[in-house]
């Protein structure tokens, strides 16, 4: 179409004439829109009446009954927490076995690679960089990250296909309304438990740009699959030991839940602060459809999720974990003044890290863990033992010994857990935020907000405990 019609005089005069007709009859833009929509809906209503015959007027009764339980005052929220708990439990316990399997497989390949390098009489440093540096980090990330993702997301999709997820938003909307944001943020938050990057993209379901931005900036306040194992390991080593026997796992679970609830509270608090400061505004209109419950297509979900997720994770591992592996290996193996770079870096961070209840090595591990949170604990162990490459302990009590002999107390453990919950988003998430917001400013903010929150929390906890002489 050849235009500018908008600067075509003949067109414009007709346009004004037509507008004039409407105005003379008192039809403003809002009224025109009303009339258009009403007219279309009336035709829809009439046609539907003619073609649809309903035998049983109560066909929705089952859905209403389910809703009366799943969104009831008494059971609504407990059922929701229980379901989420079951999803986590299946994810965490279910991931162990495939994780081990993948790790065994990938480390077998590592040995073969080593053989190959030996056979070719390759220089030692080349083997170090390629195999114990890049390949091992890659193998690590894939084996730790892939199984939980491949379990969590199908389960999450299952809840969505069943029609349950909108009910979660319905149940929690009031909390989010009080924080001046959207009920659907509850869903992107839940998704963040699986992967913060996915959670950030999920924020697309929120229409209002202001509320979407808040959801993006606060997504990182819930721990993703990459951070759960760290939290669980520390809880098990330092806190669950207090009670023996069958209550041990119950206590671990309770502490974990407390941390998650704390993350959710922080999400709401920061959302509220954001919407009173830089993202000021009123909540936008809220309309949420609660679709009928439907039988999910389990087979399709599993195939698609695993297929998609595998490629997603592998792609991410190659792009981000491989260079990280290279850097970590170089830092651990290049010596300056008799000490490797890692130690210099850790010593430099030490005084600040002490202020927030940790030590230089831990803080450094968090920084080097920027590409993927899964490698934070392995870096800590590697540095304490000066092994020069990532290693992990099969046995938690052995790990406990190493940590304690390097000065860990219960306070260190608490601060590490707090900082695990509250620190900068991982590399992939930052990159995703940049893509979604199209802005470096918001990306930097999304980096700073949780980090500063974490530093403040750890500082308060560490120094209060020290002042009171508790640690």
């Amino acid at each position: 179409m050849n235009l500018n019609i908008l600067s075509n005089d003949e067109f414009l005069s007709k346009f004004e004439e037509a507008k004039g007709i409407l105005e003379e009859n008192g039809i403003t833009r809002d009224i025109l829109r009303d009339k258009i929509v009403s007219c279309i809906y009336k035709i829809a209503e009439k046609s539907a009446k003619q073609v649809v015959s309903i035998e049983n007027k109560k066909y929705n009764e089952t859905d209403r009954k389910i809703d009366r339980i799943l969104t009831s005052k008494i059971y609504g929220i407990p059922v929701m927490i229980a379901l989420l708990g079951v999803v986590f439990w299946i994810t965490i316990t279910g991931a162990n076995y495939p994780s081990e399997l993948i790790a065994t497989g990938l480390f077998w390949i590592e040995d073969r690679l080593t053989d190959l390098f030996n056979l070719l009489e390759a220089p030692k440093w080349l083997h170090g960089v390629m195999v114990t540096g890049i390949y091992r980090t890659l193998a690590w990330v894939v084996s730790v990250m892939l199984p939980p993702m491949a379990i969590f997301f199908p389960l999450f999709t299952l809840l969505e296909d069943l029609g349950y997820l909108p009910r979660v938003a319905f149940n929690l909307d009031n909390f989010f309304k009080k924080a001046c944001c959207h009920g659907k943020q509850a869903l992107t938050m839940c998704m963040g438990f699986g992967c913060n990057a996915a959670g950030v993209i999920g924020c697309r379901i929120i229409d209002s740009p202001r509320e979407r931005m808040i959801a993006i900036l606060t997504n990182n306040f819930v721990p993703c699959n990459g951070r759960f194992p760290t939290l669980i390991a520390i809880i098990t080593m330092f806190f669950a030991g207090i009670v023996a026997g069958p209550f041990k796992s119950l206590i671990s679970a309770l502490i974990l839940v407390a941390f998650i609830v704390f993350g959710v509270v922080m999400t709401l608090l920061v959302s509220k602060i954001l919407s009173k400061t830089i993202l000021r505004g009123l909540p936008s209109s809220f309309t949420l459809e609660l679709p009928p419950y439907r039988k999910p297509q389990i087979g399709r979900i599993i195939v698609r999720s695993i297929f998609d997720r595998t490629l997603f994770v592998l792609g991410r591992a190659v792009c981000i974990a491989a260079p990280a592996g290279l850097i970590i290996w170089v830092l651990a193996n290049v010596q300056v003044n008799g000490l490797n770079l890692l130690t210099h870096f850790a010593n430099f961070l030490d005084p600040f890290a002490y202020l927030i209840g940790m030590d230089g090595i831990i803080l450094m591990a968090f920084i080097l863990g920027f590409p993927a949170n899964e490698i934070v604990i392995p870096i800590i162990i590697m540095s304490y033992l000066s092994t020069g490459s990532l290693i992990e302990f099969e046995n938690l009590s052995q790990l406990y010994e190493v940590l304690v002999s390097n000065g860990w107390t219960w306070l260190t453990a608490v601060c590490v857990m707090l900082f695990t919950l509250l620190h900068f988003p991982c590399g992939t998430t930052c990159w995703t935020i940049r893509k979604e917001t199209q802005s470096w400013k918001w990306t930097v903010l999304s980096f700073l907000i949780p980090t500063v929150t974490g530093i403040i929390c750890c500082f308060i906890v560490a120094n209060t405990a020290r002042l009171l002489g508790l640690a």
Partner: protein, 245 residues
Amino acid sequence: MGLTNNSTGIGALEKELKIERMTDDDKVIAIAGNPNVGKSTIFNSLTGLNQHTGNWPGKTVTNAQGKYKFKDRNFILVDIPGTYSLMANSVEEEVARDFICFGNPDATIVVADATLLERNLNLVLQTMEITSNIIVCVNLMDEARRKKIHIDLELLSELLGVPVIGTSARSGKGLDDLMQAVYDVTAKKIVPEPVKIEYDGVIEEAIAVLEPEVKKHLNENLNSRWVALKLLDSDESYFYPWKNI
């Protein structure tokens, strides 16, 4: 809601997915519908693994495209965002409307939920105003049957003046008929004649003044009556794309 589907796909962040016809004979089909009507099930069933996801140019709205072959022809299926209306009240609706309107699809499938027909017809009627190459797909017929809701598809087709196909995408029922209908419409074997939506006298009067003028400038694929109405009801988001044509 399409939450997990949209945010964890392989190419969720790739940008600017363009439509590429391999040959001039390839047909581009837009697939529209309300949220939760099984649109992505139909999309996935038709295209299988032969699909890409990315973003609409310049928007953080997920765009999925896939190919399928039916008889002698290749079809490129474009999954446009699930919306309740095409009034451009949100970015999704804007993207959906702009594609149906300016993306020049050879046909548009509107997927409707058999158990919620009345509300879904709103979108069907709105789409029919824009384009006449439209196939209505009444999905979830199995759910409707289970709830003892009966739908007279033939009568609906007669009332609307466009082909109406009943499907149960989860079990794959009716998809062949759907592909056949799409084939027939794009091959001009069936020429849909959507009913005209009559508005209040005054609005009709205003349209009558503007429409002939619009028609002069318009290519054949767009409905001049609808364009005239939209210009009267216009907001900036609507004026914008005109400048690119």
